[in-house]
């Protein structure tokens, strides 16, 4: 399973970015291989529909779950139609969010 976390940086010590569509990076954690990969969020510079574009970027990476602060209604529609699960977190390091996930401590978010 792949989990995407909206992030302010590309290190595992970076903090989560509470914005989804216009975060700087997405860090994608693969629970099978335990590998963490950072990708740039190309939607950051879009003039409109950043949430939709970011959601499509994650779907192209075959992501199954998203951890972010707030998701806009458009991004929710795209991700829901693709059966992606939603989690939310306060401002924390990416590494801590992954630990939270492993310990089942991440807050599930319903939209």
């Amino acid at each position: 399973m792949k989990i995407a976390i909206s992030s302010q940086g590309k290190e595992k010590e970076s903090l989560i970015d509470l914005r989804f569509g216009r975060c700087t990076y997405f860090q994608i954690y693969d629970t099978d291989t335990e590998k963490l990969t950072a990708i740039e969020n190309s939607a950051i510079s879009s003039t409109g529909g950043a949430g939709i574009q970011a959601a499509n970027l994650l779907l192209n990476e075959n992501v199954d779950a998203v951890v972010t602060g707030i998701l806009g209604p458009n991004a929710v529609q795209v991700l829901k139609a693709s059966d992606v699960k939603f989690f939310t977190s306060g401002i924390k390091k990416i590494s801590d969010i992954i630990s939270d996930y492993k310990e089942n401590k991440l807050e599930v978010k319903e939209y």
């Binding site: 939607a43 879009s46 003039t47 409109g48 529909g49 950043a50 939709i52 574009q53 959601a55 499509n56 779907l59 192209n60 458009n74 529609q77 795209v78 139609a81 693709s82 059966d83």
Partner: protein, 276 residues
């Protein structure tokens, strides 16, 4: 002949200038500030005709769609999204460019009509008035503006543009023979005037400036116009009574004290802008 009244900064007096000047010059009053058209309030226009404005929105035929998502990749505006269930259309982001239909290899893209607002035509003070009204919540105004401006009379049209220097203003200026830039002597007014000046200069449109709400004879707008050799067409003093009249929805022309502002402005527009 089309005169566009624009401002850069909002709330500087576009509607004040365009309504009064239209009546004074006997021009048609055209309100293309479709997100908040308010000129009819002052003109007390009587609407005689209403037309609906519709745009084309893609409608994906799920039977034909092979989920190649070429349309999604093509769309510059993120109006189409890829999902596990197929293509998702976001109406409000669509610019009706028609590209998705062209790139679709299986002809699965059809278009359906969507109403985005209305155009009202009427009369007031012996002049013709037209305004566009964008539906609340609709983000794209250009189709309404285009529809209005493509069908103008071949006489003098006073066009009250949107604030700012966005697509709505650029589209309006495409039809301009001359422009009046209304501003106020504040830093914000000056900053946005600079953007509006750059825009009309880039588009090669003759223009002049109206300075509204002047509290001091010498001010930053005057200095700017002097430095850049820009015509000042009128200077309207800061006056509580103007605000009172405006808040009652009345034209300044109805008060003899202010009539001469528009008499002089009308002459300057004719001398400096319309003769070119």
């Amino acid at each position: 002949m089309n005169i566009v009244v624009l401002s850069g900064k909002g709330g500087t007096g576009k509607t004040l200038v365009s309504t009064n000047l239209a009546v004074y010059m006997g021009a048609n009053y055209i309100d293309t500030d479709v997100e908040e058209p308010n000129g009819f309030i002052f003109l007390k226009s009587v609407v005689e005709e209403t037309a609906y404005v519709e745009i084309d929105i893609p409608d994906i035929d799920k039977q034909k769609c092979v989920m190649c998502f070429k349309c999604v990749d093509f769309c510059e505006f993120n109006a189409l999204a890829k999902t596990k269930q197929g293509v998702l259309v976001f109406d409000k982001l669509c610019h009706s460019c028609g590209g998705c239909k062209i790139v679709c290899p299986v002809d699965a893209v059809n278009y359906k009509k969507k109403n985005i607002g209305i155009i009202e035509k009427g009369k007031a003070n012996h002049i013709k008035c037209i305004r566009g009204v964008l539906n609340i919540g609709e983000p794209i105004a250009v189709p309404i503006i285009k529809e209005i401006l493509n069908n103008l009379d071949d006489t003098l049209n006073m066009i009250d543009a949107s604030p700012g220097t966005s697509c709505n203003v650029v589209k309006t200026l495409e039809y301009a023979d001359a422009a009046i830039l209304v501003t106020e002597p504040t830093k914000f007014g000056l900053h946005d005037l600079g953007r509006a000046v750059k825009l009309v200069e880039d588009l090669n449109i003759p223009f002049g400036v109206v300075i509204n709400r002047i509290t001091e004879e010498n001010n930053i707008i005057k200095d700017y116009c002097k430095e850049n050799k820009i015509h000042i067409l009128a200077e309207i003093k800061h006056d509580k009574n103007v605000a009172v009249l405006y808040s009652k929805g009345e034209l300044l022309l109805e008060d003899d004290r202010y009539k001469e502002i528009f008499e002089s402005l009308s002459n300057k527009v004719k001398e400096n802008l319309l003769c070119k």
